[in-house]
C-alpha cells in the first residue's frame, strides 16, 4: 500500500529526469567530475592522512562544533520541510479521505519526512567512511555504520515529526507556519554565535572523543551502539505514532482553517501614512503598486526575513570585534575588509531574495495586472522600487549602527553604503529581468516558479557583477586614499594577482573595470526590455 501511495511521486520524478535537457545533465556530470577531483585533492586526501595519524582526535574535536551546528541548522530547516510534508502536501487530502489505515498514512508521512535528513546523513556517512578507510576498518564496520546511519535518520525524523505534530496541535497553526522562518533565522544566528565557545569546550574533551572514536572502530562496541540507537529509534517511533494518532487530525484541521482576522488597526493607519508620505508626484500606477507590495511585505514574515538578513552581518561583526582591547585595536583596519567580504557575499545572493520573490509571488495574479490598463514596464519598475528601497534602507541602517559602534570614519560607512546601493541596483535589475523572462507564473507552489537553471544564471551574474563592482570601488578607494591605514593594511597581499592589479597604476585596470560595468548595464537593459516584452505577452 505504501508503495502504491508513493508511486505517483516516482512517476513525477521519472518524468522530470526524462525531460531534463541532456546537455544540462552532461554539463553537470563534467562539473561534478572536475569538482569531485578538486575536492578530493584539496580536502579529502589531507583529511585521510590526518584521520590516520595521532592528530585525528584533535582534528575531530575542532571540527565537531562546525559539523554539529551544520546538523543543527539542517534539523531546524527540516522542521519547516516536515511541517510542509505533514500538513500541506497536495496528497494529504486524498490520503485522509481514502480508506487507508492510519498506520499506513503515518508510515508514508514518515518516509516523506525522512528526506530532510538525507544531506546530513550523507555528510556523516562520508565522514565515517573516511574514518574507516583511514584506520583500515573491517567489512563489519561498513555494514554496521550503514545501520547506524539509518537508525540515526529514523530517530531524528520521528523526534522532529513528534515535535511538529505537537506544535501544530498546541500553537496557532497559521502563525506557527508564518513565523517559522523568523525563528529559524534567529536560531541560526545563535548557533553561529555559539561556535567559538563550543569549539573551546570540545577541545577540552579529547579523551572522550578518543574513546568514542575507538568504540566506533570496535565491531562489538559499534554493534551495541547500533542496537541501542535502533531500539531507541523504534521506541520513539511508537511514541510518534501515538502523537500522530491522537493529535494529527486536529492539527491538520487547524492548519486548514484560516481564522477570520482583521488587518491590525496600526496597519490600516500605516496605509494612510504610506499614502501621505509617498511623494504625490509619484504617478499612479507606480504608487499603488509600491504601497501594495509594502503592505504585503509588512504582513508576510517571509518578506521580513529577507529584510532582517543584515542583522546576521551585525551579529557576526559585533561578536567578532566588540570585545575591545589591544587585539581589536590592532585588527581595526581589517574590520573594514572583513565587513566588505561579508557584504560582497550577501550582495551576490540578496537580489534572489526580496526582489525576485516580489515578482514570483504575483503568480496567477499577473493576469489581474495584465487585464488592467497599465504597462508591464510599470509593474516591473514598481516591484523593483518596492523591493530595492527597504533593502537599501535596512543595509544602510546596519552600516550606520555597526560603523558607529566600531568607530568607523564616515567615509568608510559611505563607501560600504555606496557599494550596497550600486550592487543592489545592478543585482536587482538583472535578477528581476531574468525572473520576468523565466518565472512560470502558472505554477501553484511559490518555490517552484523559478526554474533551476535560470536561478543559477542569476546567481552567477550577480556574483560576477558584485566582484566587478567591489573591484571598481576598491580601485577608486586606492586611488583616492593611497596612504590610508586601510590601503596600507592590504599592501602585504600585493603578491596576490587580483590585489596587485588593483594596486598597480596601469591604465588597463580602470578601463577593464569601466568596460565591464558598461557591458553589464547594456546587457541588463536588454534583459529588462525582453522581460517587459515577455510579460506583455504572458498568457
Amino acid at each position: 500500500m505504501v508503495w502504491k501511495i508513493l508511486r505517483p511521486h516516482y512517476w513525477i520524478l521519472d518524468r522530470k529526469v526524462r525531460n531534463t535537457n541532456r546537455y544540462v545533465v552532461l554539463a553537470l556530470v563534467v562539473l561534478l567530475g572536475f569538482g569531485g577531483q578538486w575536492v578530493f585533492d584539496k580536502l579529502i586526501r589531507d583529511s585521510f592522512v590526518i584521520l590516520g595519524s595521532d592528530q585525528a582526535v584533535t582534528a575531530i574535536a575542532s571540527s565537531l562544533p562546525f559539523a554539529l551546528s551544520l546538523l543543527l541548522v539542517f534539523a531546524m530547516l527540516g522542521v519547516g520541510d516536515m511541517m510542509h510534508q505533514l500538513y500541506l502536501s497536495s496528497d494529504l487530502e486524498l490520503l485522509m479521505i481514502a480508506p487507508i489505515p492510519r498506520r499506513t498514512i503515518f508510515f508514508v508521512k514518515l518516509l516523506q519526512c525522512s528526506r530532510a535528513t538525507f544531506i546530513p546523513a550523507l555528510a556523516i556517512g562520508a565522514f565515517l567512511l573516511a574514518l574507516g578507510l583511514a584506520r583500515g576498518a573491517t567489512l563489519s564496520y561498513y555494514l554496521l555504520i550503514v545501520l547506524l546511519i539509518l537508525a540515526a535518520m529514523l530517530l531524528t525524523t520521528v523526534v522532529v515529526m513528534t515535535l511538529v505534530i505537537l506544535l501544530a496541535r498546541l500553537l496557532p497553526a497559521q502563525k506557527t507556519r508564518s513565523w517559522m522562518p523568523v525563528v529559524l533565522l534567529l536560531a541560526t544566528s545563535i548557533v553561529i554565535l555559539g561556535q567559538q565557545s563550543a569549539t573551546e569546550w570540545f577541545l577540552g574533551q579529547t579523551a572522550l572523543i578518543g574513546l568514542l572514536t575507538e568504540a566506533l572502530l570496535n565491531p562489538a562496541q559499534l554493534g551495541l551502539l547500533v542496537a541501542g540507537l535502533g531500539g531507541l529509534a523504534l521506541v520513539t517511533s511508537l511514541v510518534a505514532y501515538q502523537a500522530f494518532s491522537t493529535s494529527f487530525h486536529e492539527g491538520w484541521n487547524r492548519f486548514r482553517s484560516v481564522p477570520t482576522r482583521a488587518a491590525p488597526q496600526a496597519q490600516t493607519a500605516r496605509w494612510q501614512l504610506a499614502k501621505a508620505l509617498l511623494p504625490r508626484l509619484l504617478p499612479q500606477p507606480l504608487r499603488g503598486l509600491i504601497v501594495k507590495e509594502w503592505v504585503g511585505l509588512r504582513r508576510d514574515p517571509r518578506g521580513l526575513v529577507n529584510l532582517a538578513q543584515p542583522l546576521v552581518l551585525v551579529i557576526m561583526v559585533l561578536a567578532l570585534f566588540m570585545g575591545g582591547g589591544e587585539v581589536t585595536e590592532a585588527l581595526r583596519p581589517l574590520i573594514f575588509w572583513i565587513m566588505l567580504i561579508f557584504l560582497a557575499m550577501f550582495l551576490s545572493v540578496l537580489p534572489t531574495g526580496l526582489p525576485l520573490m516580489s515578482l514570483a509571488q504575483e503568480g496567477r495574479n499577473l493576469a489581474l495586472l495584465r487585464s488592467a490598463p497599465i504597462s508591464m514596464s510599470d509593474v516591473l519598475k514598481g516591484k523593483f522600487w518596492a523591493a530595492w528601497v527597504p533593502l537599501v534602507m535596512a543595509w544602510i541602517l546596519v552600516f550606520l549602527i555597526t560603523g558607529m559602534m566600531l568607530r568607523f570614519p564616515w567615509w568608510q560607512i559611505a563607501f560600504l553604503a555606496g557599494l550596497t546601493i550600486w550592487g543592489l541596483t545592478g543585482g536587482s535589475v538583472v535578477t528581476m529581468a531574468i525572473g520576468g523572462l523565466k518565472i512560470d507564473f502558472g505554477v501553484e507552489e511559490l518555490g517552484r516558479r523559478t526554474p533551476t537553471l535560470p536561478s543559477y544564471i542569476m546567481m552567477g551574474l550577480n556574483l560576477t557583477f558584485v566582484l566587478v563592482t567591489t573591484a571598481s570601488f576598491l580601485w577608486l578607494l586606492i586611488q583616492l586614499l593611497p596612504d590610508s591605514r586601510l590601503v596600507l593594511a592590504i599592501q602585504p597581499l600585493a603578491g596576490y594577482t587580483p590585489v596587485s592589479w588593483l594596486l598597480s597604476d596601469e591604465l588597463w585596470v580602470p578601463l577593464i573595470l569601466v568596460g565591464s560595468q558598461v557591458l553589464f548595464w547594456i546587457g541588463a537593459r536588454a534583459l529588462w526590455i525582453a522581460a517587459v516584452h515577455r510579460l506583455e505577452g504572458w498568457e
Partner: protein, 252 residues
C-alpha cells in the same frame, strides 16, 4: 460594443476556438454557454487581452484589443473564473490598489469602494484580510473589483459560482440594472436557468465553434421546437445531442 470577427485560437495543433464571429450590442446582457472545454474561458481571455488570437480580431468599445490594448482594458471590468486576489491585503485595500491601477482619484476610489462593499454586503468584512474570506466572499470582492472603475463593458467568467441564492439574486439584479443603464455585460455560465432568465441573448459554444446564437425565441425557432422546450433541452440538443440522449436512456 464587443465585436469578434473570425476569432481563432490554437493551443499547439488543438483548436480551442474556431472562426468565432459575434457581436454584442451596447446595453445587452449576453450569456455565453458551452460544455466544459468548449472554449468559453479562452474566448473571454482573448476579449480582455490576456490571450493573443491565432487569427481574427476582437474590438471592444471601438478599440482593437491587439492594436489598442490599454484603451480596451480601461473600458472593461473583468472577473476571472477564480477571482484574482491578494490574500495579504484587506478587501478595502484591494479595491484601493485596483483603483490606483485604473488611475482613479483617491476620493473616487473611496466613494466607489464604499458603495460596492455595501451593495455586496461586505462592509463589515472590508477591513479583514482576504485570506480569511470564504469562497463566496472572494467572488464578491472580485466582482467589486471588476465594477470599481464603472466600466462600460463587463466581462465575467462564471460570476455566480459559489454565491448563495441571496447574493446570486442580488448580482443578477445588479447586472440587469447595469444593462438598463447602457452598459454591456458578457458573461459565461454553466447555470442555464440564469442564462434563460437574465440574458437578452445567449450564444452556445461547442468544441470551439459557435453552434447557436440569439434570443430564446430565436433559438427555439432555429431548433424547430415548442415554447415548452427549455434552454437546457436546447443546450443538450446542440452540444451533446445523441450522447446525452443515450446517457439519459441508460440512466432511465
Amino acid at each position: 460594443m464587443i465585436q469578434m470577427v473570425n476569432l481563432t485560437r490554437y493551443y499547439a495543433s488543438l483548436a480551442a476556438v474556431q472562426d468565432l464571429s459575434l457581436t454584442v450590442e451596447s446595453g445587452e446582457l449576453f450569456g455565453f454557454l458551452g460544455p466544459n472545454g468548449a472554449g468559453k474561458t479562452t474566448t473571454i481571455r482573448m476579449i480582455v487581452g490576456l490571450l493573443r488570437p491565432s487569427a481574427g480580431t476582437v474590438t471592444v468599445a471601438g478599440h482593437d484589443v491587439q492594436q489598442e490594448p490599454l484603451a480596451v482594458k480601461r473600458a472593461i471590468g473583468y472577473l476571472a473564473q477564480t477571482p484574482l486576489l491578494y490574500d495579504k491585503l484587506t478587501g478595502r485595500e484591494f479595491l484601493r490598489f485596483l483603483g490606483g491601477l485604473y488611475s482613479l482619484s483617491d476620493e473616487r476610489i473611496e466613494a466607489r469602494a464604499e458603495y460596492l462593499l455595501t451593495m455586496m454586503e461586505l462592509s463589515d468584512k472590508a477591513d479583514q484580510l482576504i485570506e480569511s474570506y470564504s469562497g463566496g466572499m472572494r467572488h464578491k470582492i472580485g466582482l467589486c473589483g471588476a465594477l470599481l472603475h464603472d466600466p462600460p463593458v463587463l466581462v465575467l467568467d462564471e460570476p455566480l459560482a459559489g454565491l448563495d441564492p441571496h447574493s446570486a439574486r442580488r448580482v443578477k439584479d445588479l447586472l440587469r440594472d447595469l444593462c438598463r443603464q447602457g452598459r454591456t455585460v458578457f458573461l459565461s455560465t454553466h447555470v442555464l436557468e440564469v442564462a434563460e432568465r437574465v440574458c437578452d441573448r445567449v450564444g452556445i459554444l461547442d468544441q470551439g465553434r459557435l453552434v447557436a446564437v440569439g434570443t430564446m425565441e430565436a433559438l427555439r425557432a432555429q431548433a424547430q421546437t415548442t415554447a415548452e422546450v427549455t434552454l437546457e433541452d436546447l443546450f443538450l440538443q446542440l452540444t451533446a445531442g445523441e450522447q446525452a440522449a443515450e446517457m439519459v436512456s441508460l440512466l432511465a
